[in-house]
């Protein structure tokens, strides 16, 4: 019974949150990796791109709520998501047109693009705060839980409850669907293959008649989709605050680099590695250990390795370790 309780507590406090968070990071890291592979720079504006897409989704959600449109038990934001994606695509294509294209024409080195993306990041950051404000926004509605802790306890008679939030369920399902669709697109469609070809060898892609500007456009559009979906899922699961999204940049980059920059499978794996490390290192293990250890050995403290305030340190340390010992990442990426 104790073992079962420990298992339930572990699932409730570590496994489920980490899987949901990992899916969100994976989607974010996929966007970063796509830009790195096709446009050949690390896009520092990615966190704020997520924030912008989410903001549009939130605004549309609020409008829908005021009109009385909803999805029943599911959050209305899912209905508003396509509008958020379209808004984000418009922003990214606009940014590409007025900013990045100029540097492509100059044949600027990738490091210049990185610095440019920093500038874009500040602009987007300001834009989002200007429109929706710097504060916390909640926009989730519908049924809160698929399985609530109380129901679970009543059902099983265990001392520990297991809660499975609707947002977590949606996150996991959406992530699986999106990743499957992305891989199908990249490996099976002509456009997807042309993006991989362009990523592999720009000149040869040109000699094969692949239009570079077209490839760049598709990349931004896909990235807009990935970023908005990741942002909305994160916002539903936690809450939306522009600064938090800006901070998400670190775990997302860590995930992309841990997995191997430029490698989509790596981005997904990296997302889960970062999420599991972050959650398990900042979790107070006392509860679980109490079930597993003999009574007289019960720990006095919380057995929390790191306060949640320091959770970004986890990404940092993993990033450092990977760059020092396996710079190409877990799956063979491009960073050396």
């Amino acid at each position: 019974m104790d073992l079962l309780n420990a298992l339930v507590a572990l699932t409730n406090y570590v496994m489920i949150p980490a899987v949901a968070y990992g899916s969100q990071l994976a989607l974010g890291a996929l966007g970063v990796t796509m830009i790195y592979a096709v446009l050949r720079f690390s896009n520092f504006a990615h966190g704020d791109t997520m924030a912008f897409g989410t903001m549009v989704t939130i605004l549309v959600t609020w409008w829908m709520q005021s009109m009385g449109i909803n999805l029943g038990p599911l959050p209305t934001a899912l209905l508003a998501l396509p509008f958020g994606i379209l808004g984000c695509m418009a922003l990214l294509l606009f940014t590409d047109r007025v900013v990045y294209r100029f540097y492509r024409e100059q044949k600027a080195k990738p490091v210049i693009f990185v610095m440019v993306s920093l500038g874009v990041m500040f602009m987007m950051n300001g834009l989002v705060r200007f429109i929706i404000g710097p504060g916390d926004q909640r926009f989730s509605d519908g049924e809160r839980f698929i399985v609530s802790a109380r129901d679970f306890k009543a059902m099983t008679g265990l001392r520990e409850g297991l809660a499975f939030k609707t947002s977590q369920g949606i996150t996991i399902i959406t992530a699986v669907v999106v990743v499957a669709a992305l891989f199908w697109f990249l490996n099976r469609t002509r456009t997807g293959k042309s993006m991989r070809a362009y990523s592999d060898n720009e000149d040869l892609a040109l000699l094969s008649g692949i239009n570079p500007e077209r490839v760049v456009m598709y990349t931004w559009m896909i990235v807009a989709g990935l970023a908005t979906i990741a942002g909305v899922l994160y916002g539903l699961d936690k809450s939306f605050k522009p600064f938090t999204y800006f901070q998400l940049l670190l775990p997302i980059f860590a995930a992309a680099i841990v997995g191997g920059l430029g490698n989509p499978i790596g981005a997904i794996a990296g997302g889960f590695v970062i999420a599991f490390s972050e959650v398990s290192i900042t979790y107070a293990w006392k509860k679980i250990l109490r079930y597993l250890m003999p009574e007289n050995l019960e720990p006095d403290g919380l057995v929390q390795l790191l306060s949640t305030d320091y959770k970004f340190a986890v990404s940092f340390v993993i990033l450092l370790i990977v760059l020092l010992f396996k710079p190409t990442g877990l799956f063979k990426g491009k960073s050396v």
Binding site: E105, A205, G209, P327, K334
Partner: protein
């Protein structure tokens, strides 16, 4: 690097933020097409006529260099290292600033066309290095070669598998895992997928063993027999001139000797200077 601040290489080696693999080396200015003018009078099918030019704003590498090829012919460019053989090829393909002279294809002046538009016009080009998509499978490489085509490509692909049977066996393997000779076959196959009106090969036998080289030459002759004119740069001058209908010997970016393959092989000057006696 030429004082352009956008191309300052500082900090650019950090691969955790920048990726430099597979970046374009063609100048962006050359990627935009100008107008195409019809040509009056007789001219060869493809000709780079008295071309003078160089890379970017750098010095001229080609000096009034002329290269031409007609249907059913194999034209070979030979010459010592650094003679501008590959450069001449790139100039014909629009990957170089041609400051004077012109490029004519099939009765049109295409001097101002971008490389990608020349592909649409029917030119197929196999560069000397990085001429395949290493991370794509063999079949995907061929598919990408046919990217500009909207019709059914299966027939052409079958023809290429017929020409290079080894590729059919390896169709689902990443092209980067193949041997040197097989890679060259993929590269030539990719260029043939557009069903080009003229095929340009930049040292197709570079870095392959003599046996594979003979086989590649055989295949190239086979392609030429189908009527596609072939313009080729070769290191192995003797062997290349033996199969050539037309030969160009370049020295320091200038036409030094021109003639049929047999004439050049028989020319004592050419023999002495380039063919080792």
């Amino acid at each position: 690097m030429s004082g352009n601040p956008y191309q300052n290489d500082r900090g650019n080696k950090d691969a955790s933020i920048t990726s430099t693999s597979g970046r374009s080396t063609i100048e962006p200015g050359l990627k935009h097409s100008g107008e195409v003018k019809p040509v009056i009078g007789d001219s060869p099918f493809l000709v780079g006529d008295t071309m003078t030019g160089g890379y970017g704003k750098g010095p001229d590498i080609l000096h009034e260099c002329t290269i031409a090829v007609n249907p059913g012919e194999i034209a070979v460019i030979v010459g010592p290292n650094g003679a501008g053989k590959s450069t001449a090829m790139k100039a014909v393909f629009g990957m170089l600033n041609v400051r004077s002279g012109k490029v004519l294809l099939d009765g049109e002046d295409i001097t101002n066309l971008s490389p990608q538009d020349r592909v649409v016009k029917g030119m197929g080009f196999v560069p000397q290095t990085s001429n395949i998509f290493t991370s794509l499978t063999v079949e995907e490489n061929l598919e990408m070669g046919a990217f500009i085509r909207t019709d059914d490509i299966r027939n052409t692909m079958e023809q290429i598998y017929h020409l290079f049977p080894i590729l059919k066996d390896k169709r689902n393997q990443a092209a980067g895992e193949l041997s040197g000779g097989q890679r060259q076959q993929v590269a030539v196959g990719r260029a043939l997928m557009t069903q080009p009106k003229v095929l340009m090969l930049d040292e197709p036998t570079a870095g392959v063993s003599p046996i594979v080289m003979d086989e590649l030459f055989d295949r190239i002759i086979e392609v030429a027999r189908t009527g596609i004119p072939i313009l080729m740069v070769e290191q192995n001058a003797r062997q290349a001139l033996e199969i050539a209908d037309k030969g160009y010997v370049l020295v320091q970016g200038r036409n030094a000797y021109t003639g049929t393959g047999k004439e050049l092989l028989a020319d004592p000057e050419v023999r002495k200077s380039f063919l080792g006696g």
